[in-house]
Amino acid sequence: MMARHPSWLLTLAAIAILLFMNAPTVVVVLASFSATEYLTIPPQGWTLDWFAEVLTDDGYLRAISTSLLLASCATGLSLILGTAASYALHHRMVRGVDAILSLVMAPLVFPAVVIGVALLQYVSLLGLRGHFIILVLAHVLITLPYVVRSALSSLTGLNPQVEEAARVLGADGFTAFRLVTLPLLKPGLVAGGIFSFVTSLDNVPVTIFLLTPRQTTLPVKIFASVEHGVDPSIAAASTLMIAGTAIVLILAQRWVSFSRFF
């Protein structure tokens, strides 16, 4: 096969486009360290004051802990329920596998804002608004497609005879799953879990409808704050989120290829 190289024009265009794609994040990081209210070029001095402000602010700290708790609970639950469901779906243990799968994937296809308002109405009618568990379940709903997709693709890559070998060797169904299938699914589940965690951590369009005035998550707080204008402490909070994402991405690179999601 003849190797092809991108022309210099294509390379130049690609660099410009990649710059465009990463500009907002870079700017946010710069702004969070900038000594001035408005970011200038060149920046006039550096400071960590904005971070100090965020990390001592009760509102931000509560939002951060709510976000992390919510994402952890939702991801954990999503992984357990999603793996169990994927196992049953993969082995076609029930009728209507395709219909069930479409239903699981539906929250990915529906506009998020529609799911948000539908849940708002529903939860209000049931009088359950403001319960943390409602937020968790809503997030399980929107993260489940990623876990199931990832688990199913891992299951497909598995040699079905490996689990059979375990059973013939004396392991009951659950033991075979725990000792053989689960360890082999781990990379896929880690990937699905990371994607689920990031999705939950980022979500605004569903979350915002289910919060009470006393509750907030970090992205919703940032979203609400900009109504009052651009403020460097928002940039600092945003930078914390970017750093979190970067760390997750770097850690994840060791285990998984993200290409499986696209």
């Binding site: 529903y122 945003s238 991405l249």
Partner: protein, 284 residues
């Protein structure tokens, strides 16, 4: 030997969640969108299409629906225009460059949409980086209106959904056998001709999938239009948000939500059929 009861046992929690937490809310919203409503008494007992007639008949709502669809088209076109060259670059680069470029595509994708939209506010605001730079350079005297209008929302949404387009186009291009293009070159076809007659048509399934995805995500977007469009420049999602959170006109909001859902689902369904048709055509 697996008993079906085990299967239902494993699926019950997920099915229960989907039925109680997704199907039921959607169905109830569909029903309520067909009820009379007044802000004082809440929902009435009569069935009516008034909410839909109101949403589709009112010039203000029509303007918003039309604006949302136009926004979707522009953002999709922009994503294609920027995504195709980048995908082509990635496909034709060395593996090391490929990995680096893909990481630079995925990183913004994983960054929060609120954070990225905020980044654009820092850049596009009247006293933002771009206006400051242009004024400092003496190119403009007064700040350009880059935000709280169509321009801002387009820039923001394009950047936000571009990664999806690129990540769908790269595999589409990689699926084109290299010898097909090589064969065309040996037949003395010119480079642009090969590109237009071979590369682009073979990438069509990827282009369709990517375009539909970006379009649907764009017309459903809430955060970016709100942050970069401001409270006054409204699209469907932000209008739905206001109906529910500010105006408290839930039936109108629900009707608008269903109009949005129907557009999205019809497009996705149609795109799957078209893509399937193309895939069949090529593999046959």
């Amino acid at each position: 030997m697996r008993a079906p009861s085990t299967g239902y046992g494993l699926l019950t929690p997920v099915l229960a969640l989907l039925v109680a937490g997704f199907l039921a809310p959607t169905a109830i919203m569909a029903l309520l969108s067909l009820r009379t409503y007044s802000g004082m008494q809440g929902f009435g007992d009569e069935w009516t299409l008034a909410n839909y007639i109101f949403v589709i008949g009112d010039p203000y709502y029509l303007l918003i629906i039309g604006r949302t669809l136009m926004l979707g088209l522009i953002v999709t076109a922009a994503c294609l225009l920027l995504g195709f060259p980048l995908a082509l670059f990635i496909q034709r680069s060395r593996p090391a460059v490929q990995t680096a470029a893909i990481l630079l595509v995925i990183f913004p994708l994983l960054c929060n949409i609120v954070v990225r939209s905020f980044g654009w506010m820092v850049l596009l605001a009247p006293r933002g980086l771009i206006n400051e730079a242009l004024m400092a350079a003496g190119l403009i005297a007064t700040p350009l209106d880059l935000m709280y209008n169509l321009t801002g929302v387009i820039i923001g949404l394009t950047q936000i959904f571009l990664p999806f387009m690129v990540l769908l186009l790269v595999p589409a291009l990689q699926n084109i056998p290299a010898d097909v293009e090589a064969a065309a070159f040996t037949l003395k076809s010119s480079r642009p001709r090969v590109f237009l007659t071979i590369t682009v048509p073979l990438a069509i399934p990827g282009i369709i999938t990517g375009s539909i995805l970006v379009f649907v995500l764009s017309i459903s977007a809430l955060v970016t239009p709100r942050m970069l469009g401001g409270p006054t420049y409204k699209v469907m999602a932000t209008q739905i948000y206001d109906e529910f959170m500010t105006n408290l006109d839930w039936p109108a909001g629900a009707a608008l939500a269903f109009v949005l859902t129907v557009i999205a689902l019809v497009l996705i369904w149609g795109a799957n059929r078209v893509a399937a048709h193309f895939t069949r055509g090529f593999s046959a």
